[in-house]
């Protein structure tokens, strides 16, 4: 005897196509003003990228990871959350921080290697550097919300490369098994440094990696801000209603180098980059506005100028922040500082005073 016990499929969603045409059957209930807000935030993120990139080149900030190309994915998804929801980023989510209202100067400060930037924000967790590891504590956060009968849900961001890590599979498995209120948001930007998506795994989609763990899993065009918003909002609603976790594979593209320390011309072709530049998520929204006659160039210029001003102010403010003192090295290692650390701190303070560091 032989029978098919189970079969699966992966759905792909796109609301706005690359020409900005709407699939009305999928258009979510979203006011026009909100789409404009998304667009404005996306321009802000792009502007952030442009200016921080330059700032890195002039040595004023450290290594910077551009968002460029992933603005729809980041802003669209973050717009679907509530302020109380938990957000666990990896390191490329500058656009998510911006959308979640993080003070602009703090974002710059964080890229200057100054952790004081993360102080006091409980629901937007600090950047996670070890790739994929955040998926597990995010799962635990969601689990606690469920155990405490709280209504907040958790979203965790990570890349296509991160889905090769064991932590990712373990997180899926826990979330599925305990039906947790969490959204696994994978920014499949086609590259993990020099490793293309297809060399990362023989799995045809990343979405199907969730299905094996009983996690509802779906693909969305990550350069379609409206589509990303719609799919994330549905996942948020399901999580909040106790219907369990979702894995969203947002298909997008890292238009820039991996970080400012990388040179992507070593491993990818100009044609490929050109193909994706034509699918720029900002252009797509502009085409959409044009199609429905709510665009004019003056509005476009106004948005860009407003964003430039906002970022310039943030940078000026961040650069004026005084360098952290030696206390920062010691004060947050323990709730109560052990004696040994108190002594080491004193030692350093004396040295700093003497040398005028």
């Amino acid at each position: 005897m032989k029978s098919t016990v189970k079969s699966f499929s992966v759905e792909y969603f796109q609301v706005l196509d690359s020409e900005g045409n709407v699939d009305n059957s999928l258009m979510p209930n979203i006011p026009e003003s909100k789409i404009k807000e998304i667009y404005h935030l996306m321009v802000l993120v792009r502007t952030f990228d442009e200016k921080l990139f330059k700032l890195q080149r002039s040595g004023k900030i450290g290594t910077y990871a551009e968002v460029r190309g992933e603005e729809a994915s980041e802003v669209g998804s973050a717009m679907a959350l509530e302020k109380e929801d938990w957000m666990c980023p990896s390191f490329r989510e500058t656009g998510v921080f911006i959308t979640r209202g993080a003070p602009r100067d703090k974002i710059v400060q964080a890229w200057r290697g100054d952790v004081r930037a993360f102080k006091g924000d409980k629901k937007n967790l600090p950047v996670a550097i070890p790739v994929g590891s955040q998926t597990l504590y995010a799962t635990g956060i969601a689990w606690a919300s469920k155990l405490k009968n709280e209504k907040d849900i958790t979203i965790v961001y990570f890349g296509d490369g991160a889905t090769s890590e064991g932590d990712f599979y373990e997180a899926m498995n826990f979330a599925g098994e305990f039906k947790l209120p969490i959204i696994f948001f994978c920014q499949n930007n086609q590259w993990a440094i020099s490793t293309p998506r297809k060399s990362q795994s023989a799995s045809e989609t990343i979405a199907q990696k969730g299905i094996a763990s009983g996690v509802y899993s779906v693909q969305v065009d990550g350069n379609d801000a409206v589509g990303v918003y719609k799919i994330t909002k549905e996942a948020v609603d399901r999580a909040r209603n106790g219907e369990g976790p979702t894995l969203i594979e947002s298909i997008t593209y890292r238009m820039g180098d991996h970080t400012t320390s990388d040179d992507s011309s070593r491993y990818r072709t100009e044609e490929e980059v050109k193909y994706w530049l034509a699918r720029d998520p900002l252009l797509r929204l502009e085409k959409y506005f044009r199609n429905i006659n709510t665009w004019n160039d003056e509005y476009g210029r106004w948005v860009k100028e407003t964003c430039e001003k906002e970022v310039d102010e943030a940078i000026a403010k961040a650069l004026a922040i005084e360098k952290p003192g030696p206390d920062e090295l010691f004060d947050y290692v323990y709730a109560v500082m052990p004696k040994e650390l108190q002594e080491q701190k004193k030692e350093l303070e004396e040295e700093v005073k003497q040398r005028g560091l």
Binding site: G62, T63, F91, R112, G113, D114, V115, V127, I129, P130, V131, G132, S133, G161, A162, S164, E165, G166, D167, A192, I193, S194, T195, S199, Q200, S201, S261, D262, R266, Y267, K323, P324, P326, E328, L329, F330, V333, E340, L341, Q344, L348, E351, V352, R355, L357
Partner: protein, 324 residues
């Protein structure tokens, strides 16, 4: 003889061992087409192809675990951790298996494998890109732990590590990668594992150190020239420890300072100091002093300068020993 930096020296060692021994292969994240994020494996994929220079999925437990399997089955993998801090993602394979297979199999199974990666701080990198975990590895009984301080040693130690029948963790101080060049012979040569080097002769005080701190200690010794005659011992191999080299020097100088970048408490400096007092206490004129990183997680780079041991701290340590 050509002058080359540490990146080029390690690259040469890998190339020459791969030419010599078909079992040697290189694997890790971005080591192939990209040549590694620091370019240590640059050009290898062009020469040896993608079966011997393997771009792996992004999964350290996967990389270390499967490399170990290859070693068990007779290959000699040289595994790159993109930064040594990410070896923690696969630490269970290092400690559970890599370090123990020989003992577990009564010497039947060789895990001849090199786990290498950029180590230590000082280059304003992101969080977890500046770890100094030599003590973790030294405490996985069954591993050897190597850390070069210059291009010449880096090449010779790498060749020895690849040829060694036991698993070797090879720590590459990232601050030194391009910091300076050495005259390095083009031909293959070895620097033996387990042998420290007297990096500078002196008669007043011994500094025991390793990795990126060696250069700094040599600079300090020069600064103190004419006042205090400093001997600098570069361990080169953390484990197995060249106890003799340390004791010989301390018996001569009667004074010792240990300098390392890793945090002080439970740092390997404690081990060095304990051995000196066990075996040479009567030769000492003063207590042994440690100059190390503070007992805090390696900070994000705005605080890096505060964390790193510097010349002032080393001189202060030396003075406290001299003036005891």
């Amino acid at each position: 003889m050509a002058k080359i930096n540490m990146v080029q020296a390690i690259n040469q060692a890998l190339k020459q061992e791969m030419e010599k021994d078909k079992r040697v292969l290189v694997m890790g994240e971005d080591v192939g087409v990209d040549g590694g994020v620091f370019r240590v494996t640059d050009g290898l994929i062009q020469q040896f192809g993608k079966d011997r220079v393997i771009d792996t999925p992004l999964a350290e437990a996967g990389i270390i675990g499967t490399a170990l399997g290859m070693a068990i089955n007779g290959l000699k993998p040289v595994v790159e951790m993109q930064f040594i801090g990410f070896s923690y993602e696969g630490f269970h394979h290092i400690n559970h298996h890599m370090a123990r297979f020989r003992q577990r199999s009564e010497g039947t199974v060789n895990a001849s494998i090199v786990l290498r990666g950029p180590t230590g701080g000082g280059i304003k990198a992101l969080e977890l890109h500046s770890e100094s975990p030599e003590t973790f590895f030294a405490h996985c009984q069954g591993l050897k732990v190597v850390i070069p301080s210059n291009p010449y040693d880096a090449k010779g130690l790498m060749i020895s590590s690849i040829r060694d029948p036991d698993p070797v963790v090879f720590l590459e101080p990232e601050k030194l990668y391009r910091a300076f060049k050495d005259e390095v012979p083009e031909e293959s040569y070895t620097v033996p594992l387990g042998e420290a080097k007297v990096a500078r002769q002196g008669k007043d005080i011994t500094i025991v150190t390793w990795g990126a701190m060696v250069r700094l200690c040599l600079d300090v010794a020069e600064q103190l020239k004419g006042k205090i005659d400093v001997e600098v011992i570069d361990l080169r191999t953390i484990w197995p420890l060249d106890e003799n080299a340390i004791l010989e020097s301390v018996k001569k100088t009667g004074r010792a300072v240990v300098v390392h970048e890793a945090p002080k408490t439970s740092g390997f400096g404690g081990e060095v100091a304990a051995r000196i007092q066990e075996k040479a206490i009567l030769y000492l004129n003063s207590p042994i002093v440690r100059v190390t990183g503070f007992d805090v997680p390696y900070p994000q780079f705005a605080l890096e300068e505060y964390y790193m041991p510097n010349a002032e701290r080393i001189i202060k340590g030396i003075n406290s020993v001299m003036n005891f």
